[in-house]
């Protein structure tokens, strides 16, 4: 696990560890993005989240994002870790570290990485609210499955 740059883990994430993976003398910047568990979404209170991953494929896809970044922004180094299992409020769900000779590339590349994660990496989050649970289908919540299954309307479609 020590030198692995793209991984899924059920242990707490350590941003410093990822920062160290991408640091090198040629770098003039390291941008570290940390995605954390938010308590309130549109007024609704989250108690905790549960993340599930198709681990083998998720690690491959994180590595693919890293390759895409190195192609788009020259001389960057990248490391990404995503956590699974139960996460409480404020815990880190994802850490993205990118280093580059100049700051702009590192900042743009981490932003690119988080968008790509939400598109192609097989990881799912389940919200635990005070009054129920739901798998979140996408970040715009266009495709969520209340009560973990299809509703009446969906079955009748």
């Amino acid at each position: 696990m020590e030198n692995k740059r793209y991984y899924i883990t059920d242990s707490p994430l350590n941003p410093l560890e990822l920062q160290q993976l991408v640091t090198k003398p040629e770098a003039g910047a390291v941008n570290c993005f940390i995605g954390t568990v938010r308590e309130f979404t549109k007024g609704r209170r989250t108690l905790y989240l549960t993340y599930e991953a198709y681990e083998k494929m998720a690690e491959k896809k994180l590595a693919q994002i890293g390759s895409e970044i190195q192609e788009k922004w020259e001389e960057t180094e990248c490391a990404i870790a995503h956590r699974t299992g139960r996460l409480d409020i404020s815990e880190a769900a994802v850490v993205i570290a990118v280093s580059s000779p100049h700051r702009q590339a590192a900042m743009e590349a981490s932003s690119y990485a988080i968008e790509r994660i939400k598109e192609i990496v097989p990881i799912w989050k389940k919200e635990q609210w005070e009054d129920g649970t739901a798998w979140i289908g996408d970040q715009l919540e266009k495709n969520r499955y209340p009560r973990g299954g299809p509703g009446k309307e969906e079955l009748e479609e």
Partner: protein, 106 residues
């Protein structure tokens, strides 16, 4: 009686030689995986389909025939051996097919 004993023994012997590994037609198996909300709907994370070859679309139809209420499989992306695939791509024996509901990592 003795005659039937002999036949029974022979057929038992044949079965134990190599179930599912003879390379004969009909001996193949593909593994099908479900995740998140789709796993809740099917009530299982994995099924095996004894089939040598099928398109991704046919695998999807097979899943729906097994689990008619697994609504999410219709909108799920498909992956074969951890790579995204198209509906008309072919799945072979020993492949692993995964149906992935819209992702929500990050």
């Amino acid at each position: 009686m003795g005659r039937w004993d002999g036949l029974d023994r022979r057929s038992t012997g044949e079965e134990s030689i190599s179930p599912g590994r003879t390379g004969k037609r009909g001996a193949g198996r593909m593994k099908i995986l479900f995740f998140a909300g789709l796993k809740d709907q099917t009530g299982t994370e994995e099924v095996v389909w004894e089939k040598d070859e099928a398109t991704v679309g046919e695998v999807r139809e097979y899943v729906l025939s097994l689990f008619p209420h697994a609504y999410t499989v219709k909108q799920a992306m498909a992956a074969v051996n951890e790579e995204f695939v198209q509906e008309t791509d072919t799945v072979h024996a020993d492949d692993t097919v995964a149906f992935l509901p819209p992702v929500s990592g990050g």
